[in-house]
Amino acid sequence: MSIVRLVDDVATYDDVSPLTAQQRFTRTFLQHRLSVISAAYLLLLPMVALFGEYFLVHDPIEVDLAHVLEGPSAEHLLGTDHLGRSTLSRLVVATGVALKAAALAVGIAIVLGAPLGLLSGYFGGWWDRTAMRIVEAIIALPGLLVAIAILAILGPSLTNAMIALGLAISTAFFRLMRGAAIEVKEELYIDAARVSGASTLRIVFRHVLPNVTGPLTVQTTLAFSQVLLAEAGLSFIGLGVQPPEASWGVMLSVAQNYIYQHPFMAVPPGIMIMLTVLAFNLFGDGLRDALARVDTSPPAPVRKTKTGRTSSTPNEGNRTSVLSIENLHVQFRQPAGEDLEVVTDVSFSVPAGRTVGLVGESGCGKSVTAMAIMGLLPDNGHASDGVIYFAGRELTSLSETALNQIRGEEIGMIFQGPMSSLNPAFTVKNQIAETICRHKGITWRDAEKRAIALLERVGIPDANARANDYPHQFSGGMAQRVMIAIALSCEPRLLIADEPTTALDVTIQGQVLDLLTSLQQERGMSILLITHDLGVVADMCDEAVVMYAGQVVEQGPVNDVLLEARHPYTAGLLASMPRNEVRSGKLPQIPGRVPPAWAWPAGCRFHPRCPHATERCKLPIDLQQPDPHHQVRCILAGKPPGGNH
C-alpha cells in the first residue's frame, strides 16, 4: 500500500476529539458557570480599584465627625466608619491596597520560588537535596510566625508584610515547580528532545516550562486567595497595612474596635474578603478542571430505566447457555449533547462449560459489554435496550441487591491490570475471604482457611505465608493468580476475564491461561474471555465473537472464525497479526483505525476501511448466517473473503 493512500486514511478520521485543545479548554472552563462569574468579578476588581474613585459620591478621606458609626442609609449605602467616612468609599480604596499587596506578595513568591523549583527539580542532585532540605525546614516553620519574624526584621508595613508573605508562600511555588519539573523530566518527549540534541536550557524553557504553566497558573490564583487572607490577618493584628491606609484587613481591625457600637462595620470588609477569595478559588478550580486532561466535573446522572425494549417477552434462548445477551445497546450520557451509543445491538451467548472469546481492538465495545453484564457500567452509562439472561434471570432489570447476589457468587470477573484491581490497603487473604464470607455465609476463620487453599490452588507458592501479604508485594503474574482466586472463590458458573493476560509477559501469560483452563476443566464453569489477541482466542476459546465499533461483526465456533474468517475486518486482523513465520515483504494491514464512537459511519461501520466496500455498504447491514453456527455482518458473507490475505 502506498504512502499516498495512507494520507487519505488518516484524513478520514482526523481527530481523537471533535475539539481542539483550546476549544476543549474554553468549553470546559465555560461550563463552570461560577468560575466564569468569578473571572468576570476578578477582572472587574482592578477596574474598581483604578477607576472606582471617580464614581464615588463621597471622598474616601472625607471625615464627617457629625455622622460617625452610622448604619447603611441612602446617603451612605454601607454606612460610615468611626470618622464618619463612607464605608463604601473606603472599601473601594481598600480594594486597590489589597490587590496591590496581594500582587506584590504573589509576584515575590513566583519570582523566588518558581525558577528555583524548576531548576532544582530538573537538575536534581545535591543542589536539589539541599534546596529541598531548606524548603522542608521552611515549611516546618509555622508560616505566620515566620511572617511575623520577618516583620520583626523589616518592621511592620504593607510592603514588608508582603515580602514576608511572599517568602513564606514561595515554598509552595518551589515545590509545585519542582514536582512538575520532576514529573515532566520523566516524560519521553524530554528524552526525545535530548536525543535530538536540545541543550539543557532549551529543554528547560521550551519543553519543561510550557508544560508546567497550567499548574503554575492555578497555583497563582490560589496563592492570591491565600495572600489576601494572610494580609487581612496580618493587618488585623496590626502587623500588615497600617492605618490610616485602608485595606480590608485594616477595616476589619478597626471594625473590631467598634464591634459594640457598630457591629455592621465588620460586615462589608469581611464580605469583600470572602467574595474575592471565593472568586480566586473558584477561578482556580475552573482553570484546574479546564486544564485537566480528564473531565472531573460531575457526570449527569442517568435514569436507570430502559427506553423501548425490543424483546419484552423473556426468551429463554439457548437452554444450554449460561449467559445469553440479546440486542444489547449501551449508551453513555455526554456532558453536553446527545447520549453516545457505544454498544449497538449485540447478541451472543455463552454455553455451559465453554469458553467464548470476545475479540476486537480497543474502542470496539468489548469491555463495555462485559461491564453491562455485571451491571457495573459507570454512572453515566446504561443499557438502553436489550436483555441479558444469566441462568434464567434477566440481569439488566435486577436491583443492585439482587445483582450483588450474582456478582462474585455466580459470575466471577478478572481484569486487565491485576495490580490496580486489587485493593492496596488489604491483604490478599482478606480480599478473598470477604468474598467467600459475603456469599457463603461462613465464619471469617473458615473463609480465611478457604482463601489460603484457593491461593494454593491457583499456584501461589508458600500460600500460607503469602496470604498475609499485600498486593504490592506480588509480581504481576502472581497478582493475577490472586485475582483469579478471588473471582473463583465462590465457584461461579461464569467467569468473565477482561484482557486477563494483556499486562503480563508472554511466558507468564501462558501460565495464567493454563491455570484458567485447568480450573475450567475442574469446575465446569463457562468463561467469557475478552481479548484483542487472536492468539489467546485460539488458545482458550471454543467460540469467538468479533466486535467492531460497538457491533458484533462475526461470530461462530473458533475454528470457523479464525480459520475461515468471513468478515473483512476479522480477515484483516488475522492477516495483520505478525506471526512467527518466515518474513515475506510487508505485513498486510487494515488502513485507518477504529473510529471513535461519535464518528461511527452509517451503514457498515467498517466500510470506510474495507477494501471490498461498495455503495450498498453505506446502508445498514444485518447479521447474515452463511453457516448454521456462523454469523457475519457483511453483504459478502456468503463469499470467502479474498484480496487481503
Binding site: A21, S196, G477, V506, D514, P578, R583
Partner: protein, 322 residues
C-alpha cells in the same frame, strides 16, 4: 557501524536508614553486539531483561558502568563537545504515544526542533522541510499546526518517526515503538518503518517484547534475559530453530491465531512447570535462566555460561549446547 562491547549499566539503589544498605541493580550486565548499515537488530526480552536500558544507554540517557559503544569508530562515551554530531546520527522513537510528544508544542515545532538545533532552520525553510517529513510518514501539511492531543496513537507514532528521521540519522532506536498500538495500527507503523528503511538506508535497533513482531522487521535478533544476551543471530535462524531454552520457551509462548495449531502448543506448554521471572534486583547465581529452565543441570546453578558461537553468525550462552 555501531559496535557495543561488554556494556554494563548498573543502577544504584539505596535502602534503609540514611541509605546505608545500598547495592547495584545490574540492569545490563555485559552485552555486546554490532549493527551494520541499513540493517535491523531486534532486541527481545521480557520485562526486566534490560532491553530498554541498552537503548537508553546508547542514547546516553543513562550512565554507563563499563563497556564501549562505538559509532563509526568513535567511542561514544568520550564524546563531549561533538555530542551534536552523534545526536544527528542516532535517533529514537519511544513507546508511550501519550508521553512521547510535548503536549504544549504544535507538530511543526516538535518535528522542526531538531532542524532548528542542528541546522539552524527557521520559519518557512523549516516548515517546508517539516511538511516534507510529515508527508514521508503519511501525515498532511495541515497537521502541522495541531497539538499532539489532537492525534490518535498511531498518528503520534508517525509524528515521532518524522521527528526521528528529520536529521537523516544512520540509526534509529525503536524502543517498544509499537507495543501500545492496536493490531491494525501496529502493522501500519511497521510497514512505514520498513519502507523508510529501504528509502533512507536507516539501521534500526528494534526493541520489543514480542518476538513475532521483532522477527518481522529484524535481520538479526538478540534475546535478552536479566541483562544478558542468551542468544543472538540471524532472525530467521533464531525464530525458526532456536537453540537456547529461553528462546524456545519464548517462541512457544506466543499464541498463534490458528486454533488447531495453538491447541498443540498449549498441550506442550502445560507440561512445563510454572515459574516466575526472577527479580532483577536479586538475580540468581549461575545461568540467570536456570530457575526456569526445564533442562537445567547442576552446572547451570553455579557457573555463568559464556556466549559462544554455535552456528555461523549465531551465539548462544548455554551450558547445554555444544
Amino acid at each position: 557501524m555501531l559496535t557495543v562491547e561488554d556494556l554494563r549499566v548498573y543502577f544504584h539503589v539505596k535502602r534503609g536508614l540514611m541509605g546505608r544498605r545500598s547495592y547495584d541493580v545490574r540492569a545490563v550486565d555485559g552485552v555486546s553486539f554490532g549493527l551494520a548499515h541499513g540493517q535491523t537488530l531486534g532486541l527481545v526480552g521480557e520485562s526486566g531483561s534490560g532491553k530498554s536500558t541498552i537503548g537508553r544507554a546508547l542514547l546516553r540517557l543513562v550512565g554507563i558502568h563499563s563497556g564501549t559503544i562505538q559509532l563509526n569508530g568513535t567511542d561514544v562515551r568520550e564524546l563531549r563537545g561533538r555530542m551534536l554530531d552523534f545526536r544527528r546520527d542516532l535517533q529514537a522513537i519511544f513507546q508511550d504515544p501519550y508521553s512521547l510528544l510535548n503536549p504544549s508544542m504544535i507538530v511543526a515545532d516538535i518535528v522542526g526542533e531538531p532542524l532548528t538545533i542542528h541546522y539552524g532552520l527557521k520559519g518557512r525553510q523549516r516548515d517546508e522541510r517539516v511538511a516534507q517529513l510529515l508527508d514521508q510518514v503519511g501525515l498532511a501539511t495541515y497537521h502541522m499546526e495541531r497539538y499532539p492531543s489532537e492525534f490518535s496513537g498511531g498518528q503520534r507514532q508517525r509524528i515521532a518517526v518524522a521527528r526521528a528521521i528529520a536529521l537523516e540519522p544512520q540509526i534509529i532506536i525503536c524502543d517498544e515503538a509499537i507495543s501500545a498500538l492496536d493490531v491494525s495500527t501496529q502493522s501500519q507503523v511497521i510497514n512505514l518503518l520498513k519502507e523508510l528503511q529501504e528509502r533512507l538506508g536507516l539501521a534500526y535497533l528494534f526493541i520489543a517484547h514480542d518476538l513475532a513482531v521483532v522477527r518481522h522487521i529484524s535481520d538479526q535478533i538478540a534475546v535478552l534475559y536479566l541483562g544478558r544476551i542468551m542468544e543472538m543471530g540471524p532472525a530467521e535462524l533464531i525464530c525458526s530453530a532456536p537453540r537456547h531454552p529461553y528462546t524456545q520457551l519464548l517462541i512457544s509462548a506466543i499464541p498463534v491465531a490458528d486454533p488447531i495449531e495453538q491447541k498443540k502448543r498449549k498441550a506442550a506448554r502445560s507440561q512445563l512447570p510454572p515459574s516466575e521471572l526472577p527479580s532483577a534486583t536479586n538475580p540468581p547465581d549461575g545461568c540467570p535462566f536456570h530457575t526456569r529452565c526445564p533442562q537445567a543441570v547442576s552446572r547451570c546453578r553455579n557457573e555463568v555460561p559464556l556466549p559462544r558461537q554455535v552456528r555461523p553468525g549465531e551465539i548462544v550462552a548455554c551450558h547445554l549446547i555444544d
